[in-house]
Amino acid sequence: MSDSKKKKAPNIDIFRAWCKACGICVAFCPAGVLARDEGGYPYVKEPDKCISCGWCEMRCPDFAITVYNKDKKRNFENDYPEERQGK
Amino acid sequence: MSFRYDIRLSGSGGQGLILMGIILAEAIGIYDGKFVSQTQSYGPEARGGSSKAEVVLSDTEIDYPKAMSLDLLLAMNQKSCDDYYMDLKNDGILIVDSTFVNQVPIQKAFRIPFTRIARENLKREMVANIVALGAIAKLTTIVTPKAIEAAVMARVPKGTEKLNRDALKAGMNAAMKAQKASVPQMLSERVDEDT
C-alpha cells in the first residue's frame, strides 16, 4: 500500500435522510472537519483535516454519519481508564 | 328429599374449632364417603373473639353450604350457646362444654366438661376439641368412630398421636355417661311435644 493511500482522507458519509441537523457532529469534531450549511445540515468542509477519530459517528443521535477508514484501534479521545472500560 | 345434616361447632377463638370442623368434615367426607361442606367464621377479625365452624353433610351434592336449621350444635362456651341455641331444630342435639357453659337453655342437652377432661385427665387443655369430637362420634350417627380416628390421626402433629387417641376415647366415654344421664330428659321432652 502506498504512503499516499495510507494517509488518504477518511471518507465521511452523511446520510441526509436521517440527519436532523442537530449540529452535534459539527460542534464536537475535534479537528474542525465539519461545518453546517444554511439549513443547519452538516457537510464535510475540510476533509483533509480529519483524524479519523470517529467521534462524530459516535455522538450522532441519528446514526446519520459514517466514518470510513477509521483507525482500527478506535482512536477516540477518551477520558476514562482502560481497565474500567468493561473489556 | 335427600338426607341432610347441619352441624355448628362454636366457642371462642383459641378452642380449635376450625380444626375440629376440618377433621369432622374430613372424617365424614373422605373416610365415610358422604358429601360434606365445611365453612367457618374467618379472618384476623376473629382473633380472640368468637369462633365457629360449620359442617353440612348429605348423601347427595350439597346446595346451600352453610348450616341452616341445626341438627347438631356444639357450644364450647356460654356466649355461643346463648347465641345459637335458637337455630337448633326441634329434634336437634345440643352438646355443651360444661366447663364453661353453666346455663343450658334447653333440656335435652348433653353436658360434658370437655375442657376439664382435657385439662385434668389428659393434662393438655388444648385437646378439648378432640375430646369433643370423640363425644360427637358417640352421640350421633353421622360419623363412624373409625373415620373420626383416622381423620384425627391424619391431621395432628407427629408425636401427639397417643394423646389425641386418648382424648378421643375420653370423649367417647364421657359421651356414653352423658347419654345415659340425658335419656329420661329427652323422653320427657318428647312427651311434652305430644301434648
Binding site: - | 367426607g29 365445611q38 384476623p44 353450604p65 352453610k66
Partner: protein, 380 residues
C-alpha cells in the same frame, strides 16, 4: 368406610384453585397478600418450587400484574390472586394484557367493598369492575365458581381459555366459596384437556405476531424462541408496531372483540336447574347460586315451579341461556350480594314480558335460601 385414596381431598375453594392451576400447567405466580385470597399465595409458595415453577411476592399488586405478564411473554403460564383493593390496582396492567394479548389468569376473591370495606366477609360486588375496570373499551373473560369442585375445574378452564384466546382471564370467587371446604376427588391420570398457546410454525421472517386469523387469535411466540418481535400497550399494527392509522386500529380493536364474541358458545358455562317447566327462574352465580338451587328445591317441595340458572361464566354475559329462561319463565329473580349488577344485564337483554326482580344484599352476609323463598312468595 371407604379407603382414603390419594385423590380424595377436603379442600378449600382457594386450595382447589391452586390445584387447578398446577394441573393446568401454571408455573409462575406473582402476588401480594390480601384477605381472602392469601391462601392461594401461601399454598403456591409451597407448591410451585416443587414443580420447577416460580413463586414471587411482589411489592404490590401493580407489580404482581406486571410480573405475570412478563412471565407469560417468556413462556410460563402465569397467575396472580388478589381481592378488591388489589384488583383495582391491577386494572392498568390488566388492560395491557388485553391489548398486548398476553395470556394470564387473575383471581379476585371478592370481599365486601367499596375500599377496604369488609375484608373478611363475602360479597359479589366486583362483577362489573371485572368487566369494565380498566380504561378503554375491551373484551374480557370472567368465570365464577360455586363449589370447590368448580374452583378446580374452572381454574383449568381459565388457563385453557387464556392460552387459547391470548387474553387475561379473571376468576371471581366470593369469600364463601374461597374458604369453604368440600370433598373433591382429583385424578391425576384423568384425561383433562390442557390447552397450550399456539406457537408460530412459520420461519421467523414470516411471523406476524398480531396477524388476523379466522379464529381471531394470532400464534404467539415466546421471548427467546427466535421470533424477535415488539410488544406494546400502544395500539399497534399486525406486526406489533405502534400505529395511529385508523385503518389499522379499527380492525385491530374489532379483532380483539371478535376473538371473544365469535366463541361465546365455547366460553359460556353454567347449569340449568329444573328450568324447563319453571314459572319462576332464579339466576345466580357464586355462593348465591347454591342458595338459589336450594330455594328452588324447597319451592318445588311446596309445589311451586321454580328453577335456577347458574352462571359460571359471568363475562361475556350468557345472553343465550338467559334469554332462554326469560322466554320460558314469567318471573326472574336475580339475587346478588351487591346492589344489582348482573340483574342489569338480565334487564338489558330482556325483550320478553318476564318480570325481573332483584335481591340485593350488601351487609357482608350470604343470601340465604329462605330470603329467596321469601322473595318468591312476595312476587309470584
Amino acid at each position: 368406610m371407604k379407603k382414603k385414596t390419594k385423590k380424595e381431598l377436603l379442600l378449600q375453594g382457594n386450595e382447589a384453585i391452586v390445584e387447578g392451576a398446577l394441573r393446568a400447567g401454571c408455573r409462575f405466580f406473582a402476588g401480594y397478600p390480601i384477605t381472602p385470597a392469601t391462601e392461594i399465595s401461601e399454598l403456591l409458595s409451597v407448591r410451585l418450587p416443587q414443580v420447577d415453577g416460580t413463586f414471587i411476592q411482589m411489592e404490590d399488586e401493580i407489580a404482581s400484574m406486571g410480573a405475570i405478564i412478563g412471565a407469560s411473554l417468556a413462556g410460563a403460564k402465569s397467575m396472580t390472586a388478589t381481592s378488591g383493593p388489589g384488583f383495582s390496582l391491577m386494572q392498568e396492567n390488566l388492560g395491557y394484557a388485553v391489548i398486548a394479548e398476553v395470556p394470564c389468569v387473575i383471581v379476585d376473591a371478592m370481599r365486601g367493598g367499596p375500599s377496604t370495606g369488609l375484608p373478611t366477609f363475602p360479597s359479589q360486588s366486583d362483577v362489573m369492575q371485572a368487566r369494565w375496570g380498566t380504561h378503554g373499551d375491551h373484551p374480557i373473560i370472567v368465570l365464577c365458581p360455586s363449589t370447590v369442585r368448580e374452583c378446580y375445574d374452572i381454574t383449568i378452564r381459565a388457563f385453557n381459555m387464556a392460552e387459547k384466546f391470548r387474553t387475561p382471564v379473571i376468576i371471581l370467587v366470593d369469600e364463601v366459596v374461597a374458604h369453604m371446604r368440600e370433598k373433591i376427588s382429583i385424578d391425576e391420570d384423568e384425561d383433562i384437556e390442557i390447552f397450550n398457546r399456539v406457537k408460530p410454525t412459520v420461519p421467523p421472517e414470516w411471523y406476524i405476531p398480531y396477524e388476523d386469523t379466522p379464529r381471531g387469535v394470532p400464534a404467539m411466540a415466546n421471548f427467546g424462541d427466535g421470533y424477535r418481535y415488539h410488544v406494546t400497550g400502544l395500539t399497534h399494527d399486525i406486526r406489533g408496531f405502534p400505529t395511529s392509522r385508523p385503518d389499522e386500529i379499527d380492525p385491530f380493536i374489532r379483532r380483539l372483540f371478535r376473538k371473544i364474541s365469535q366463541h361465546f358458545a365455547e366460553l359460556h358455562m353454567g347449569e340449568f336447574f329444573e328450568t324447563d317447566d319453571a314459572e319462576i327462574t332464579i339466576i345466580a352465580y357464586g355462593c348465591v347460586a347454591r342458595s338459589a338451587k336450594r330455594a328452588a328445591r324447597d319451592a318445588r317441595e311446596r309445589g311451586l315451579k321454580v328453577g335456577a340458572l347458574k352462571l359460571n361464566t359471568i363475562w361475556p354475559f350468557m345472553r343465550t341461556p338467559v334469554e332462554k329462561v326469560l322466554q320460558t319463565s314469567k318471573i326472574i329473580i336475580v339475587p346478588e350480594m351487591n346492589m344489582g349488577q348482573i340483574s342489569r344485564e338480565v334487564k338489558r337483554v330482556n325483550k320478553t314480558d318476564a318480570k325481573v326482580f332483584t335481591i340485593n344484599k350488601v351487609d357482608g352476609t350470604i343470601i340465604t335460601p329462605e330470603e329467596i323463598l321469601r322473595k318468591i312468595k312476595e312476587v309470584r
